[in-house]
């Protein structure tokens, strides 16, 4: 059988050669380009940093150190790290000659710590890792945070960040605990909704399910009813997830233990436990993350403040100091003996106890507060070694976190080298000498940005800031501009228009950032870096109308660090004059006002409002 003779093109036109070249060349060019396109600066910095710390050699050995492997202590052992993982651990390892060696004499090498109760936010993962906390087990954050972190954690993680495992959204009811932060939370209305709710969390990437049972502290809060709690626990188990519970009352803790909950993420604090009840808890197999440190903060924040004076203090960043210095409202009538005594009883009974801080609640800080928690655990019935297990192997095992919490072959090389012997004196964990995350050394000093001196201009004589009769410009010469949650990973959108001499702000809050917002802002000074002294003025006044939802006014002052103080106002169809006292913006510095913003916050969805005649008078 012969082939049909298709005539050969012996003299192909030149254009055809070009076409052939294009078919191969143009896609190749596109492919090459995508690989060379500019990437966000954060990664650029991170890669630069890792280049400095020589990250391509994540292979080394720590020799002559005491090693706590997550379960027990080896007086003198060698730990060999190869490509970010632990290759071997033992007393007499044969090491390759050219392997870099770190001398650990007089020091103790421990697994990177796990904090079993945090709420990830902002710089938390970078902050935690400087304190030897290489993995955070988060009990409520936005799924966007989690999904970002999930991408990297199965490999050797993000450079210089603690790995994140999380419950994602928590289960609560409309108006219940967990909804007060302004972050929208999908709710479970009934037992029938439990399966779908858990499924949705699983699809978002939740590693386990967190359920809130909180009838309120003193005040009364709506909370999930027992049938729904039972249905949630069952649904989680059917779908292969663990279910942990926030309960601050012992009766609730006992009830969920009997319903099969896997863990309590706080110790109760209403009354002491009796023997029969303790037996019930023990038999249920439930574990407890007491979070004593956050409870201590409600009673007496001084010990944590004192700790910040010690060797750990130098690693605190500005956001960490800010959360550490914040305080719970002083109203709490709390008997500190209840939580501490309860931990003691739990430890005696052999109920598994895990270390968690509940950072960044008031008087706590990411990473930092776990060291205080370890101290509190040893003051209340745990041996130092038990406390260390609570922050390493036990936490990893009970939350099902792979490759972390132990020093053993195949585990991630998340390691902390401390001076002294924390298995005898737990405060040795505070003398951190080195931290490795996946074999990469972590810089221990916090980036301290010296507070820049802020230039201040006197307030203008005219109290009117903007009347929008001449478009978007303010009297200060600055334009009104869009502000959205974009830089917090949000997706909200906004549009500004001047219509009939008023500023119309329309847009939509979209799920994405933990606290979605979108609106308009303007700087008050002649240029954005100059603050204005409005200390002689009393109030912010403006006219507004809108679609009936409530809106926030935020005042930015001083160095503009942290969350700016805000007040809300209601909008209606009719123009209304709204006057807000400057004093009402708690934490704002009227002598150093920088900017003001009007924005929609909280509830997702479209919004529309108008403002006019903005005055600071």
């Amino acid at each position: 059988m012969s082939e049909p003779a298709i005539p050969e093109h012996e003299h192909r036109p030149k254009a055809l050669r070009w076409a052939g070249l294009s078919i191969v060349g143009i896609p190749t060019l596109l492919l090459t380009m995508t690989l060379l396109m500019p990437t966000p600066e954060i990664t650029a910095e991170a890669s630069q940093e890792s280049a400095e710390t020589n990250s391509d050699s994540t292979s080394f050995a720590v020799v002559n150190a005491r090693v706590f492997d997550g379960e027990r202590t080896h007086p003198k052992a060698t730990v060999w790290v190869e490509n970010g993982h632990i290759q071997a651990m033992g007393p007499d390892l044969e090491l390759p000659d050219d392997l870099e060696r770190v001398d650990g004499s007089g020091h103790t090498l421990m697994p990177g710590l796990l904090d079993a109760h945090v709420h990830t936010w902002g710089s938390s993962r970078a902050d935690a890792v400087r304190f030897g906390v290489t993995t955070v087990l988060d009990q409520f954050t936005s799924p966007t945070e989690l999904q970002k972190a999930r991408k990297h954690r199965d490999g050797t993680g993000d450079a210089g960040l603690a790995d994140l495992f999380s419950a994602g959204y928590l289960a609560t009811v409309d108006g219940g605990h967990g909804t007060q932060f302004g972050m929208p939370v999908p709710q479970v209305a009934s037992p029938e909704a439990a399966d779908a709710w858990v499924k949705a969390r699983k699809e978002e990437g939740s590693d386990w399910i967190k359920i809130v049972v909180e009838p309120g502290w003193g005040q009364s809060l709506p909370t999930l009813d027992p049938p729904t709690i039972a249905a949630l626990i069952d649904a989680a188990h059917r779908q292969g997830l663990k279910a942990v519970v926030h309960a601050s009352l012992l009766d609730d803790a006992l009830r969920v233990a009997e319903l099969g909950a896997d863990g309590l993420v706080h110790v109760w604090r209403d009354r002491e436990i009796d023997d029969a009840e303790l037996e019930t808890l023990k038999r249920s197999g439930i574990f407890v993350v007491p979070t004593l440190v956050v409870v201590e903060g409600m009673v007496d924040p001084e010990p944590s403040m004192a700790l910040a004076e010690g060797p750990l203090g130098s690693s605190l960043s500005a956001p960490q100091r800010a959360s550490l210095e914040r305080r719970f409202p002083p109203s709490t009538k709390l008997d500190w003996a209840v939580p501490t005594q309860s931990v003691r009883r739990l430890a005696e009974a052999g109920v598994p106890i895990l270390a968690g801080s509940d950072a960044p609640n008031p008087s706590t800080a990411f990473g930092f507060s776990l060291h205080r928690e370890l101290q509190l655990l040893t003051e209340n019935g745990l041996s130092p070694e038990q406390a260390l297990r609570a922050a390493t192997s036990l936490a990893a095992d009970h939350f099902g976190v792979p490759k972390r919490g132990r020093i053993a072959e195949g585990q991630l090389a998340d390691l902390v080298l401390v001076a002294g012997d924390p298995t005898a004196d737990i405060t040795a964990t505070q003398r951190i000498r080195k931290v490795w995350k996946s074999g990469r050394p972590v810089k221990l000093a916090a980036e301290q940005q010296a507070a820049p001196e802020i230039a201040t201009a006197p307030a203008p004589d005219d109290t009117l800031l903007a009347d929008f009769d001449n478009g978007l410009s303010s009297r200060s010469g600055q334009a009104w501009m869009k502000t959205t949650d974009d830089r917090m990973g949000g997706k909200s959108v906004v549009d500004l228009q001047v219509v009939d001499g008023a500023l119309r702000i329309t847009g939509e809050l979209l799920q994405g950032a933990m606290f979605p917002w979108a609106g308009a802002m303007t700087f008050l000074g002649p240029n954005p870096s100059v603050a204005v002294d409005f200390s002689a003025r009393k109030e912010l006044s403006f006219r507004a109308r809108g679609d009936g939802r409530s809106y926030s006014v935020m005042l930015f002052s001083g160095d503009m660090q942290g969350i700016p103080p805000s007040l809300t106002f209601e909008s209606s169809d009719d123009w209304t004059r709204i006057t807000l006292p400057l004093k009402g913006f708690r934490g704002a510095e009227p002598a150093k006002l920088r900017a003001v913003s009007f924005a929609a916050t909280g509830q997702l969805g479209g919004f529309r409002f108008e403002i006019d005649d903005v005055e600071i008078r």
Binding site: M1, S2, E3, P4, A5, I6, P7, H9, P13, A15, L16, W18, A19, G20, S22, I23, I26, P27, L29, L30, L31, M33, T34, L35, M37, P38, T39, P40, E41, T43, T144, E203, K482, T484, D486, G489, K491, V493, D495, G507, E508, L510, Q511, G512, G606
Partner: protein, 262 residues
């Protein structure tokens, strides 16, 4: 074997033609197709330049610093690849059909698929050029920064997006005359592009229109592209893939009917 034999219909059984021969036929046809579309300046210039021009105006000059440059890169990317596919197939097929070129090709020993494959290749090459322009504008003037995998993902999603719209174009091209084709294609292309949020973000359209967009294929391609840079509206991506797959099959069905009817 004589040349007359080779050319005589029906085509020699394809099984008897060696693979390399067939590939060579596909290759030659693709090269010719590309040359021919490049030479049709009234087609190639607008398809190659409009998306970049629009993006320059709306995404870069007006949208700079607002995050719009990233968003609109994905949507004008979708706009660009949809254009190359719709015009290449819609107008190209209609003209080839009317001029008798299609019939002529059928009586040559050229494998039947080469006609389609060459058009797909040409559309992909054009799409690549559009994306190169947009990416360059975005990275230089727009200040857009993505991770490498996002740049790559964006290009991959958009290039794959050429396929459903090629089928869409084919469905049009098998039903309309060569003269009418550009108008008919535009009748679908421009309104769909606007209503799907390719020109201005979907979230800025009134809510009713946002809901309506769900019925339009370009919306689903743009959502997949936006998903790569995490700016999508949050529908699960399999929905978008399913809609686009359905569009592809339905359009191929319509195209087959039109082709047979001829």
């Amino acid at each position: 074997m004589s040349r007359a034999q080779a050319l005589s219909p029906p085509c020699p059984s394809t099984a008897s033609v060696s693979l390399s021969r067939r590939l060579s036929a596909y290759w030659t046809e693709s090269c010719y197709e590309l040359v021919s579309v490049f030479r049709q300046l009234d087609f190639s210039l607008p398809t190659l330049l409009f998306p970049a021009m629009f993006y320059l105006f709306f995404g870069v000059l007006f949208g700079k610093g607002s995050g719009m440059s990233s968003y609109l890169l994905a949507t004008y990317g979708a706009f660009g690849v949809i254009g190359t596919a719709l015009f290449g197939f819609g107008v190209g097929t209609a003209v080839a059909r009317e001029s008798g070129e299609l019939r002529l090709k059928q009586v040559t020993p050229m494998p039947a698929g080469a006609f389609l494959v060459s058009k797909i290749i040409a559309a992909l090459v054009f799409s690549c050029i559009v994306l190169i322009e947009l990416f360059l504008l975005a990275a230089t003037l727009g200040g857009v920064r993505f991770e490498a995998h996002q740049w790559l993902g964006l290009a991959a999603v958009l290039l794959l997006g050429t396929l459903p719209f090629s089928a869409f174009g084919l469905a049009i091209g098998t039903h309309v005359s060569g003269k009418g084709a550009p108008a008919v294609v535009n009748l679908f292309y421009l309104p769909m592009a606007f209503l799907s949020g390719l020109w201005i973000p979907i979230t800025m359209l009134p809510e009713v229109m946002q809901k309506l967009a769900f019925a339009l294929p370009p919306f689903h391609l743009s959502q997949l592209a936006l998903g790569v840079i995490q700016l999508d509206s949050g529908y699960p991506w399999p929905i978008h893939v399913a809609v686009l797959a359905a569009v592809t099959f339905i359009c191929l069905g319509i195209a087959a009917r039109g082709y047979r009817r001829r």
